[in-house]
């Protein structure tokens, strides 16, 4: 192993931390601009992802980039990070014009990014991950203890407690995210980009992250906070730049604006964020029953442990939990895509064969999968063909032994009309539609089979405000019509808004099931973290 004693000066990064934090030297006075993006343009075949986008952020500022999926947030970040080169426009960092050719150049200018999907080596310790990839040609030796000390200092400074000696696989997703942030800080980040950082966090962890972000800003760092969630932008940012269709619409201070204004700017028209009305009604008999169900995940580990649940006709059971705690496996087990190892699933009293998707379909289970583009549709087939993906076996779609394209088109026209799909026609390839319209096609197909159970996983992820409202209303109406609905979502607000009851998942188990009207966010947040 490496010698711990002689490495005190070995790691270049710790010096940065110590030197650039004169205690008390930071107030909230106007400061030099850290980032200026001027008229940045990036084109891809068929689209202009960023069309003369401009924004700036000062030192010590938390600046939010707000926009719907596809508005150009990610492209803009990739331009800042040197992953893409702009077709046009300029980038000025700390007053100097720069031209990045790779992320390494960007990191040299102090720009670091924490991606939505974390990039850590699971078998290594926190300290090892922090050093990994930091390049200083002079240092061939690595002193674990010095690094550990630096990490611990930074962790304390920014209230991000994490054990530097812990191995990554032992940590929760929230803790791993802290490691990513610490890694950036220890390697000299002046400008930190956080891409949708709260998707993997419980509400408590998110609050903690916001306070750490404020600490970083107070220490003179610039934080660029990417999000499409309005409340968190209002909570954490000083100013917000709104992106829409590849344009930067405007930049506003968050003080003096509210969620409705921001939503309007984001969508380009007035919207009301009013919740879907929940109609109180009597739930019917249990349609979907799981008794002591176990299943393995993709890596062969136990992903579902002794799950017992029941869902009644006419109710929505919301599944809350931090991503990766068994929700996906739950959906796959109910829909027959994943075999169970123990336990029993019953649909209306009949036993569901394990690992048999067609058997599940025949028993009346509809599924709106999380992976819309990969699993839910065949992207290069037409809308009409995608609409008959589950009904092509039926006699109604045939004339004799031959599939009737006339019937398929007629069926598609009716669905397009009924579910308000905006598309040129039934023969359009489905991949050419927007996310919202694809989701409408998916819902149309799944609901047209007259299901008894509907499983919807992250049904509104990536959708714009209008489509989100539409999908939520359809889910609610579906339940009201007597279908047992299981809705899995990482968005706790959504779970609260739609569910009659909420089951909280943690580490492959149901840690509790509560009535939505009696549950409170605090309690659910603790359950999501495994603390209650």
């Amino acid at each position: 192993m490496l010698d711990a004693g002689d490495g005190r000066a070995a790691l270049a990064a710790p010096a940065v931390l110590a030197s650039d934090l004169p205690a008390g030297a930071v107030g909230r006075v106007p400061k030099a601009l850290a980032v200026q993006a001027i008229e940045m343009t990036k084109r891809f075949p068929g689209v202009v992802a960023n069309d003369h986008v401009s924004f700036d952020a000062a030192e010590g500022e938390v600046h939010a980039l707000l926009g719907e999926n596809g508005a150009g947030k990610t492209t803009l970040c990739n331009l800042l990070m040197g992953l893409y080169r702009p077709d046009d426009g300029r980038l000025i960092i700390g007053g100097k014009p720069v031209r990045f050719h790779s992320p390494r150049d960007a990191q040299g200018s102090g720009i670091f990014m924490v991606h939505q999907h974390l990039r850590l080596v699971e078998s290594m310790t926190v300290a090892e991950n922090v050093v990994l990839g930091s390049s200083s040609p002079r240092q061939l030796r690595f002193s674990p203890r010095a690094v550990e000390r630096t990490v611990a200092e930074a962790a304390e400074r920014f209230q991000m407690s994490v054990d530097p000696r812990a191995r990554i696989w032992q940590l929760s997703l929230g803790e791993r995210q802290r490691v990513e942030i610490l890694k950036a800080l220890c390697r000299g980040a002046r400008i930190l980009i956080l891409d949708e950082p709260t998707t993997v966090l419980t509400p408590q962890e998110a609050d903690q992250l916001f306070s750490s972000v404020r600490d970083m800003a107070a220490a003179g760092r610039t934080v660029i906070f990417i999000s499409h969630k309005l409340p968190e932008v209002l909570a954490v940012a000083d100013r917000v730049t709104i992106l829409r269709n590849g344009h930067s619409v405007t930049t506003l201070p968050t003080a003096g604006t509210d969620a409705d204004d921001l939503a309007g700017l984001m969508v380009g028209r007035e919207v009301s964020l009013e919740a879907v009305a929940k109609v109180t009604h009597e739930a019917g008999p249990a349609v979907l029953e799981l008794a002591g169900v176990w299943a393995r995940g993709d890596l062969g580990t136990e992903a579902l442990k002794d799950i017992t649940l029941e869902v009644r006709a006419g109710e929505i059971l919301g599944i809350a939990g931090v991503s990766g705690n068994g929700q996906r496996e739950l959906a796959e087990v109910i829909t027959g895509l994943r075999p169970t190892t123990r336990g029993m699933i019953k649909i209306g009293g009949a036993r569901l064969p394990t690992g048999d998707p067609r058997g599940a379909i025949d028993l009346g289970i509809a599924y709106v999968p999380e992976d819309r583009m990969g699993t839910g549709i065949a992207p290069n087939l037409s809308i009409a063909e995608n609409l008959m993906l589950k009904s092509y076996r039926a006699k109604t779609m045939r004339s004799g032994p031959v599939l009737s394209s006339r019937k398929a088109i007629a069926n598609a026209r009716e669905m397009i009309e009924r579910f308000d799909v905006r598309a040129p026609g039934p023969r359009t390839l489905i991949r050419q539609l927007s996310g919202g319209n694809i989701q409408k096609v998916l819902l149309a197909r799944e609901l047209s089979s007259q299901p008894r159970v509907l499983v919807a996983a992250s049904p509104t992820r990536g959708l714009d405000v209008g489509a989100t409202q539409y999908v939520r209303r359809v889910l609610r109406d579906t339940a009201t019509s007597g279908v047992a609905v299981v809705m899995i979502s990482e968005d706790l607000d959504e779970v609260f808004e739609l569910s009659d009851r909420i089951a909280v998942f943690y580490n492959g188990r149901v840690v509790g099931t509560l009535k939505a009207s009696e549950a409170d966010r605090q309690q659910i947040g603790l359950m999501m973290a495994g603390a209650a």
Partner: protein
């Protein structure tokens, strides 16, 4: 100002391009080959005329073009059908060998049975042998998730050695042990006259029965893909295996059956080789011809469309035929091979390039008034 070249993927290919591109590619090929011919001291125009006449117009030219086109039609269909579902059956070559083994055995066993029965049995025997051979990579792919490209390719060599063993290294049923000198020059048993497939003869032109069967198969496969539940499932599988599984398609069975059909078609290529042309199992001749591998080129040029496979197999058959006709003291085999290579390369390259658009990028883009200023 004009900046660097810019290559973009086309979002969709206009219809006229699909016609213009192959023609333009052929013209380009003619120019390149012309330069090559001039450099080697040949007159391009007379060479082209010679090729045209050898492939089409000369006495018996079309018939011999069809001799080369027939096996390519089958192996082209074999590849095109499997590739439609993104199941990469590279094993047409070996499946053809096994088909030839199966068909010759059937023909030998049945001997003097009525001719139509013998022919039908040979078709079935060849198809079954090809199917079984294709099921090996199919089972491995479906249940162990091995890569069918590698397994089907490797099995081609196994099938090739197996044929060799039957004729050269054993006293197998297929080997002719009766004639004098059979131990010095091993050959296979020649099939009886009832196993000779009749051609359709019009004047000096003969259409082999195999080509008729192949053309009928092409129509059948097109209908299967276009308008049946089976074909719909294939298209879904080819586009997204996850979506297929999700929609209740039995994906493993699908792989097995598509590979069986694909291998069966290649197997009939073997039947046709025995029944239409060879009447004897000839390992060396079959291996030198490499019909299975050329079939992959045919399928690619036909964009996996079965009907287009018929036309492309005729084109490549004609090209091969013309090539053999050119060969001579002043025209070495290497030059013929190079010419054929250039033609195939240009046509195939054109197909791929047609999916992209090339433009000059302007250095300073004039701002169009679409931005919403704050």
């Amino acid at each position: 100002m004009i900046g660097p070249l810019r290559v973009e993927r086309r979002l969709d290919t206009p219809k006229w391009l699909k016609v213009v591109v192959p023609l333009a590619s052929l013209v380009l090929a003619a120019i390149i080959v012309g330069i090559l011919l001039l450099a080697t001291g040949h007159n391009p125009l007379s060479t082209y005329h010679q090729m045209y006449s050898a492939a089409i117009t000369a006495d018996g030219a079309l018939s011999s073009t069809l001799v080369y086109a027939t096996p390519l039609l089958f192996t082209g269909l074999c590849a095109a059908f499997a590739f439609r579902m993104r199941t990469w059956n590279i094993g047409g070559e070996g499946q053809l060998y096994m088909g030839a083994v199966g068909a010759s055995a059937t023909g030998l066993v049945l001997g003097d049975w009525p001719r139509p029965l013998v022919i039908i049995a040979m078709v079935i025997g060849g198809a079954l042998a090809g199917m079984l051979w294709a099921e090996i990579p199919a089972l491995l792919r479906a249940y162990l998730r091995t890569n069918e490209i590698l397994t089907s390719l490797m099995l081609n060599y196994v099938a090739g050695f197996f044929m060799y063993y039957l004729i050269y290294d054993s006293d197998s049923y297929w080997r002719d042990l009766t004639t004098p000198g059979a131990s010095v020059f091993p050959t296979g048993k020649t099939l009886g006259s009832h196993a000779n497939w009749p051609g359709i003869t019009i004047g000096s032109f003969t259409l082999p029965l195999g080509f008729v069967i192949g053309a009928a198969l092409a129509v059948g496969l097109l209908l299967l893909i276009r308008s049946t539940r089976y074909g719909f499932e294939m298209r879904v599988m080819g586009d997204s295996p996850q979506a297929a599984n999700y929609s209740g398609i039995r994906t493993k069975r699908k792989i097995l059956s598509v590979m069986a059909i694909s291998g069966g078609v290649a197997g009939v290529a073997g039947s046709s080789q025995i029944g239409d042309f060879g009447h004897v199992l000839d390992p060396r001749g079959l291996q030198q011809a490499q019909y299975g591998y050329t079939g992959i080129v045919v399928a690619a040029l036909a964009l996996y469309n079965p009907i287009a496979v018929v036309l492309v197999s005729l084109f490549i058959g004609g090209l091969t035929n013309a090539g053999f006709a050119l060969e001579g003291p002043s025209f070495p085999t290497g030059l013929v091979g190079t010419m054929e290579g250039i033609i195939l390369f240009t046509v195939l390259g054109g197909e791929i390039l047609a999916r992209y658009r090339i433009s000059w990028q302007r250095r300073h883009v004039v701002a169009v008034g679409t931005g919403v200023a704050s």
